[in-house]
């Protein structure tokens, strides 16, 4: 049996616009999302801003009631049995909000340990262990208002793990962490799965998803557009290779012309410090480097390279294809 199951989850938000003539506007944030996560699996939910990832998570962790559809965690329905679900899950939202700023990190943890019913005898040891795990040891008695953003975030991670939950929901846990901190947190997430925890993770860092996730669902505009292992996604969507060309000022028409080339799957341009990097993703059966360079004729061209598709390529193709 799957540990987390979502069946055709939907969520509509009602917002009000206008001050004098108030109109109700409906936003369909999640439109029929279904998936299942097995025990011990690390499942990634990827998608652009506003795709509905956080909304989906909040329905699963009982903070939001779905407009339609059902979901259960460890066999407990998230609407009918919220308390049973809450006992068994931990959740962490990225970002620094949500700590009691006037109190110390230790006090914050102590309070939530009690709320989560951690037995008094083990509380102390458990908190020490988690402080060690997230690297806040030595700073735990300072008021959290003096913590850096990353420290608050790590405090959230510790808080989410206090009661040793079987299922952990992590919504962009590494956002805003420094590279070393983010790497450490990824290692921590890795140890959680090896301890048999089931994890749902969202992130905007594709390499992170690639490194951590056993399975990924890509969600766009409230619907799942692809699902599979990172390898499957890469091969399914980006069965081709990527040619990267360093350019210095590329006209939009040229990008459009490249897009229309036979065999080109997607084209995107990223700004770098002094130059731009043009990436052209092509089907595996075509060799287009010469044609691409031909179209760039006249532009100042720098380094040209060729690489296998990454998860990011697959993601871009999927999301752009929408």
């Amino acid at each position: 049996m799957a540990v987390v199951e979502a069946h055709d989850l939907r969520r509509v938000y009602k917002t009000h616009t206008g001050t004098i003539r108030r109109r109700v506007k409906e936003i369909e944030a999640v439109r029929g999302v279904s998936f299942a996560i097995d025990k011990g699996e690390l499942f990634g939910l990827l998608g652009p801003n506003g795709a509905g990832k956080t909304t989906t998570i909040k329905m699963l962790i009982t903070l939001l009631i779905p407009t339609a559809g059902t979901a259960n965690v460890l066999g407990f329905d998230v609407v009918k049995d919220p308390r049973e679900v809450r006992k068994r899950i931990g959740y962490v939202f990225g970002g620094e909000r949500g700590v009691y700023e006037r109190l110390s990190g230790y006090d914050n943890l102590r309070y939530f340990a009690e709320l989560y019913g951690v037995p008094p005898k083990v509380q102390k040891a458990r908190i020490e262990e988690l402080l060690e795990l997230v690297g806040l040891k030595g700073r735990e008695h300072e008021r959290t208002e003096g913590y850096s953003r990353g420290m608050k975030q790590r405090l959230h991670v510790a808080r989410g793990l206090l009661h040793d939950p079987e299922v952990v929901f992590l919504d962009e846990p590494t956002i805003g962490l420094d590279p070393v901190g983010a790497r450490e947190l990824r290692a921590t997430i890795g140890t959680l799965t090896s301890a048999g925890k089931t994890i749902l993770l969202t992130t905007h860092y594709m390499f992170e998803a690639d490194a951590l996730c056993d399975r990924i669902a890509v969600i766009s505009q409230g619907e799942i557009v692809a699902e599979g292992t990172p390898a499957q996604l890469k091969s399914r969507v980006a069965s081709g290779a990527v040619t990267e060309v360093e350019v210095f000022g590329i006209p939009d028409e040229t990008v459009e012309r490249l897009r229309s080339l036979e065999g080109v799957m997607s084209v995107w341009v990223e700004e770098r410090e002094q130059a731009q990097v043009l990436s052209v993703q092509t089907r595996a059966d075509v060799q287009l480097t010469a044609a691409i360079l031909g179209h760039l004729n006249g532009s100042n061209v720098g380094r040209v390279s060729h690489r296998e598709p990454t998860l990011e390529d697959a993601y871009v193709a999927l999301v752009e294809g929408e």
Partner: protein
């Protein structure tokens, strides 16, 4: 049971600590009652019962501090947690929301102890207030009973104010009238008869009566029993309204909004 007690105790300590760390809140709880006590002193000094009148007024001023602390602390509690971003974390824990919120509202009432302490101390030091109470043990019982019943009243405020749009202005409107109608400032017998029922359903009326009887003479038992009875009614109302708020907030997605 012992677990419920632990939960309440830890929550109370945590929230008292949290409020105590707020300089503004504490300053407010200690300083403004002193002003009222001082004004009352000059009013009563020219009146009929100098010594005991002063204690009478100081206790009333202390109770005013407790009420203000509950009104602003509990009334704005959920909104404040929402701003801080902690609401989404405290609502997602396994115990019922009331178990989380009750220690918070009782904590806001407990901060009012600073008010009682400051008015009595001020009266003692500046005006040589006599502090030899008639029934010291009953005084403690009445004080604790008042704080708990006001904390329970805070539970009602916290869950109803959050459902109202203009809760803040409502808080401001309710501060002084409640001081009056519960007899903290002046004797209830000076108020028109139609205000009587309002006085009776408000815990500060009975709390201050119990405290004054215990301090100055009189039978404090009945007022304390009334505090307890009202407390139970507040608990029932708070239980219902908080449950309603929780479901509504999860439906309308207002837990995270600022």
């Amino acid at each position: 049971m012992s677990q419920a007690f632990r939960l309440f105790w830890t929550g109370w300590v945590f929230n008292v600590k949290n409020l105590t760390m707020s300089g503004f809140f504490i300053l407010n709880a200690t300083i403004s009652p002193i002003f009222f006590a001082t004004i009352a002193h000059y009013m009563f000094a020219s009146g009929a019962r100098p010594g005991s009148g002063l204690v009478y007024a100081s206790l009333g001023a202390g109770m005013m501090g407790i009420w203000s602390s509950v009104l602003f602390g509990s009334g704005g509690l959920i909104q404040w947690q929402r701003w801080q971003g902690t609401l989404e974390y405290v609502i997602g824990v396994p115990p019922r929301l009331i178990v989380v919120v009750l220690p918070m509202t009782v904590a806001t009432a407990s901060i009012g102890l600073y008010s009682i302490a400051s008015t009595l101390l001020w009266g003692r030091i500046i005006f040589g207030l006599p502090l030899d109470f008639v029934h010291p043990a009953w005084f403690v019982v009445a004080l604790v009973g008042s704080i708990v019943s006001l904390g329970l009243l805070g539970l009602v405020l916290s869950s109803t104010f959050v459902l109202l749009r203009n809760a803040n202005s409502l808080s401001n409107l309710l501060e002084y009238p409640v001081w009056l109608v519960t007899g903290l400032l002046i004797s209830l017998s000076l108020l028109p008869g139609w205000t009587r029922p309002i006085s009776w359903v408000l815990a500060p009326t009975w709390g201050i009566r119990g405290i004054r009887y215990a301090a100055l003479g009189g039978d404090p038992v009945f007022p304390i029993v009334m505090c307890a009875a009202l407390g139970l009614i507040y608990l029932a109302i708070g239980h219902y309204t908080l449950g309603y708020f929780e479901v509504r907030a999860r439906k309308s997605a207002t837990l995270a909004l600022r």
